[in-house]
Symmetry: C2
Subunit: 101 residues, 2 copies
């Protein structure tokens, strides 16, 4: 884990919020959009962009940044890319800060 990369991927309010929204999708996204939601997949880019009130390209890049830091997991299915949290990496981050920072 490259700590600086992970921290940078979280050093923006929108990206931090996305991570929180994905913790409980049903609490943050309209039910229609989650019609065929699965915890395996997560939420697609355009739904996240709508929630963030930002353009799809901006959010797409944000998600890729977090994916590169291994904080999110992406799955392409048909024409959608779904993102979910990487709970293991988030716990690893907490552990790393606790023990090594």
């Amino acid at each position: 884990m490259i700590l600086l990369e992970v921290i940078k991927s979280l050093s923006n309010q929108t990206r931090l919020s996305i991570l929180e929204w994905l913790k409980e999708p049903f609490a943050h996204f309209p039910a229609e959009e989650l019609a065929d939601y699965s915890p395996d997949l997560g939420v697609c880019v355009s739904d996240i962009a709508k929630k963030a009130g930002m353009s799809v390209p901006t959010v797409s890049v944000y998600l890729k940044t977090m994916l590169a830091a291994n904080i999110l997991i992406a799955t392409r299915k048909d024409q959608w890319t779904y993102y979910k949290r990487n709970e293991q990496s988030i716990q690893e981050l907490a552990r790393h800060i606790k023990d090594n920072l």
Copy 2:
């Protein structure tokens, strides 16, 4: 704790390194400079700046940023300002990421 503020204060390699150096001052600063070192106080600004290879003003601002985020503790003594880690806050950060992020 304002998570974003804390994360931003750590989102720079130099600031991250400073936090690590302060974990074990004797492993990272010349013994002469630590002649009257005390864990209560920590290390002074100019010693940290020298170690970082950066100007004193830059490092002074960096340290203030981390102080504002409550990740460091500052003590003014005579004409020196000493900085040490705020271990409690660092553990609180780890806990916050573990439980709330």
